[in-house]
């Protein structure tokens, strides 16, 4: 019984940590301008429209 309670507490803890992180994300504007976020992985020299991987010996 004690173990089941402990596991339940940890389950609630993990879900709770996700809830706290969710609240933080909403509070800091992480859900605003998602299109900008999706472009954040591109650099000015590795920009959108530029593929970055090929088999050796073959460029596009």
């Amino acid at each position: 019984m004690i173990a089941a309670t402990l596991v339940l507490l940890v389950l609630v803890g993990i879900t709770g940590s996700a809830l706290i992180a969710f609240w933080w994300a909403a509070d800091t504007g992480q859900f605003k301008n998602p299109e900008d976020a999706s472009k954040s992985i591109f650099d000015r020299d590795e920009s959108i429209g530029k593929p970055t991987d090929h088999f050796p010996g073959r460029s596009s």
Partner: protein, 495 residues
């Protein structure tokens, strides 16, 4: 650049600024990659050693299932030892070691914060690999805990926990130092995975190994841990890699950032409740099992969002599969993620579970997840990362192609053989009049196919290891723009 600041910039000036900023980005990436080079390569190298060791143990265990007299001379080579040694070297040595390397590199790239220079990460590397070595030897000499996915003896846990704590703090440090702005979806997945896993592992080790709880409470804790290791550690790191690599390789942002966020948050909310579906039919509170079945079905939400997002991002770019080694592995893995998740949710439904439970079907499902999804994703990530760390091209397109096709063939054979064989096995086991040995004989061809697939996969692993070694020892072309080189001169040694 201009004498008079009030004068408007002309085209030439804009080009110079743009080119200097592009150069800045390139230099920043170079700094990040240089700082990552040794430690990430070390994690990858050690993980490959475990991959090969785990493959050898897998073949031994698999052959024993249809030829029980194979390697019976020594007690340390008995099935009860080589099988858990295989599982643990693969799960912790190969997948977790490579995931730490991939996680550190992607987080460093996305936060634009170079890895720490402190020796702590090296301490993590040594602790992790000492832990796996001690644990594997422990299992083989008969010290296994007999708790599935946690067979390493209790004395190895401090090594693994210490290593993971260091990796977690490094991930948190990079997040903390990142420039202000959006947190990309891959960062969310990596941050969550590196915080969730030590928590899961510590809880399971404390309650099951160090201070074992009463026996009836052990299976729920065991399966809570084992299933979450897959869903809250291996899965998030692999999805982080997919969300970073697919857009980068095809040069296109992900189709819908909204969907990616729904996928992440629903994984966080639903996954932790999934593990109890392994105990359907067992002597456990019905509500616990039912809640887990409901959560397993709810997992279709993140899975479908991820599948739609990846497919729509790839739409119009499928031709890159011909030209990009990374994309081949990553797309194969992404499709497998959808398949394994739908298969997992369906197997949690009681009537289906009555057939598949305690059969080879579950082993086929595990290989679809841990190999076709996670391992293929890690291979794809390593194909992208290594040339950038070493500023060198992969040595041979032939080795990459052979590696891919052998992996694809091997894992497809294994999954089909075990799924079909397991289904028949479950169907027959439910018939009270059928003898156990009779059913065992029906499964033999499927078990032989499993051994064959293990051999094919091991050959693929040897080819990848050869490629990896040729790259790091300089037997491959060098270039300033990795993986976009013109030279086609395999096995040419470079400095």
């Amino acid at each position: 650049m201009r004498q008079n600041i009030s004068q408007p910039l002309d085209q030439n000036d804009l080009q110079k600024i743009s080119s200097s900023k592009a150069h800045e980005d390139q230099l920043q990436r170079q700094l990040i990659d240089t700082r990552c080079r040794n430690i990430v390569t070390a994690f990858f190298s050690a993980s490959l050693v475990w991959l090969l060791s785990g493959s050898a143990l897998a073949i031994a265990a698999s052959i024993k299932l249809h030829s029980p007299d194979f390697l019976t001379q020594s007690d340390w080579l008995t099935f009860g030892r080589v099988r858990p040694a295989h599982l643990n070297t693969m799960a912790y040595g190969w997948v977790s070691g490579a995931s730490i390397g991939v996680g550190l590199w992607i987080m460093s790239r996305l936060t634009r914060v170079p890895l720490s220079k402190s020796p702590w990460l090296w301490a993590a590397f040594f602790l992790w690999n000492i832990g796996i070595t001690v644990g594997t030897i422990g299992i083989l000499r008969g010290d296994s805990t007999s708790i599935e996915w946690l067979e390493f003896p209790g004395y190895t846990a401090p090594f693994l926990l210490g290593a993971f704590a260091i990796a977690m703090f490094e991930i948190i440090r990079m997040m903390n130092k990142r420039p202000p702005g959006h947190v990309y979806i891959s960062q969310w997945y990596i941050l969550a995975a590196f915080c969730w896993f030590p928590w899961l592992y510590a809880t399971a080790v404390i309650l099951l190994v160090w201070f074992p709880v009463q026996a009836p409470a052990m299976p729920p804790i065991n399966w809570w841990f084992a299933h979450n290791a897959l869903g809250l550690w291996f899965t998030p790191v692999s999805l982080a890699a997919a969300y970073y690599l697919i857009p980068k390789v095809v040069g296109k942002p992900i189709h819908s950032y909204y969907l990616s966020m729904i996928g992440f948050w629903s994984l966080g909310f639903f996954y932790a409740w999934n593990g109890m579906h392994h105990l359907i039919g067992g002597p456990f509170p019905a509500w616990l099992i039912s809640a887990s079945i409901a959560a397993s079905i709810m997992m279709l939400v993140p899975v479908i969002t991820v599948a739609i997002n990846h497919h729509m991002t790839m739409k119009g770019s499928f031709h890159y599969l011909k030209s990009s080694p990374t994309l081949r592995f990553v797309v194969f893995a992404a499709v497998s993620y959808t398949l394994v998740s739908v298969q997992g949710s369906s197997a949690a439904i009681r009537p289906l579970n009555q057939i598949t439970h305690f059969t080879h079907y579950t082993i086929g499902h595990a290989h679809l997840g841990m190999y076709a999804f996670v391992t293929m994703m890690l291979f794809g990530a390593m194909y992208y990362i290594m040339p950038r760390l070493w500023n060198r091209e992969w040595p041979s397109a032939f080795l990459i192609r052979s590696h891919f096709w052998l992996c694809a063939l091997g894992v497809a054979l294994m999954t089909f053989a075990l799924s079909i064989g397991g289904w028949i096995q479950g169907w027959e086991l439910n018939k009270a009049e059928k003898g156990f040995m009779e059913i065992l004989e029906i499964t033999l061809p499927y078990l032989q196919a499993r051994s064959l697939s293990g051999g094919i996969l091991t050959l693929a692993h040897l080819m990848f290891t050869l490629s990896f070694l040729l790259l790091i020892f300089g037997w491959s072309p060098r270039g300033g723009t990795p993986t976009l080189l013109e030279a086609n001169t395999p096995f040419r040694r470079t400095q």
